[in-house]
Assembly symmetry: C2
């Protein structure tokens, strides 16, 4: 059976889960905690851990690691329900969005807000780094402004089609939203877009996850907020 | 004319230059310093700046930003001299290498050693952060060990073919090597592989660059070290 090693609040694991569901590919999940040094996912992908996809192909079992490598692989091997546009320029646009998540958002927001929330509320370790939270919130606001500019003029982040860009950004925001860290009220078009993302069957599934001992923000899984 | 906005010691700009040269695509270069807020590249790609490729297509001028988006675009639009393998599993392997550069090496090595060197030796700003240099050197050693494991069993980083993985890693190492920060002597197979990279015509070109006022390490552009 096809298996995805994932962790619930890892935005990249969420992206892959959504992509698999969008493509109607069957898979089973195995939890791979980032706080466990010798998890199976760590063994399969020593640099990075989850997400790791173990796929079954005609040629046997293959191990695919690294989020964007997995997402591109899925779109190449399972061409039904494509998640990248056809034209190279439009594909570049979708990949540009994934690029700024990994090269900017990751350090500016995940490593500040998300990391702090997970440390504080889930692991209950250390004291909150309020400076990191403040810098993260400021950076997140900047990214939301950019998203607002995109969603104001396009139905989807990379243009006319639903793509890996929408999946990746929505997966990232959903992790922050679990802790109530996204101030939606000032970003009307982004909110509308995110509501459409949450309404997709592929997304409903991940919104059912809950962290032991940490309730999500009240609006987190709601379709009206 | 096709134009690439780049900065000399930006590993991602170097990757794109090498890929363009490997594909024998003509282009002109425009310098886009990361220390200039309102560079043309910043205007074209507000999140991130260089590298930015302005390409001329049948449909007109297009702007492609974000390193991996540019590299994938080039391989899709200019299929001559392919830089990704044919089989999806092998393509995933090449993308896995690019993934660990962006998600690991970037924060662990570029943001420590490379940043400090550029600050100290090029911008002559601030005091050297010796703790960052120490942590960076330790992380770099870990990455070199991984590269050594790969190059011991394969001619190229992603397998049998020269790919974007080789281009990207060699571009990253070349920036550190400019300052003499790569201890090659302990990594025999990686040294051999890097020597082969340096010998390629596409690579010789970037090794001619020199930063004003900062001489490269003596072995930097040599093919025998």
């Amino acid at each position: 059976m096809r298996t995805l090693y994932h962790w619930m609040l890892d935005p990249y694991s969420r992206s892959v889960r959504i992509a698999l569901a969008e493509k109607k590919i069957e898979f089973s999940l195995k939890e791979a905690s980032p706080f466990e040094d010798q998890s199976e996912a760590q063994k399969l992908n020593p640099i990075g851990g989850a997400p790791v996809l173990v796929d079954m192909t005609g040629a046997g079992r293959v191990v695919i690691s690294e989020p964007r490598a997995i997402l591109e692989y899925l779109d190449e091997v399972y061409p039904g329900y494509p998640l990248l546009p056809k034209a190279p320029v439009d594909r570049a646009e979708a990949r540009w969005v994934m690029g700024w998540l990994e090269r900017g958002f990751e350090a500016d927001v995940n490593e500040t807000i998300l990391k702090e929330r997970i440390m504080m509320r889930y692991l209950r370790a250390g004291r909150p780094n309020t400076e990191a939270l403040r810098l993260g919130a400021k950076a997140l606001e900047g990214y939301l402004k950019h998203l607002e500019a995109l969603t104001a003029v396009r139905p989807y982040l990379a243009g006319e089609d639903f793509t890996l860009a929408d999946i990746s950004v929505a997966a990232h925001l959903s992790c922050l939203d679990y802790f109530g860290d996204v101030v939606w009220s000032r970003f009307e078009h982004t909110s509308d877009w995110y509501l459409r993302m949450k309404s997709r069957a592929s997304f409903r599934e991940i919104l059912k996850d809950s962290l032991e001992g940490v309730l999500p923000a009240p609006h987190y899984a709601e379709l009206d907020f």
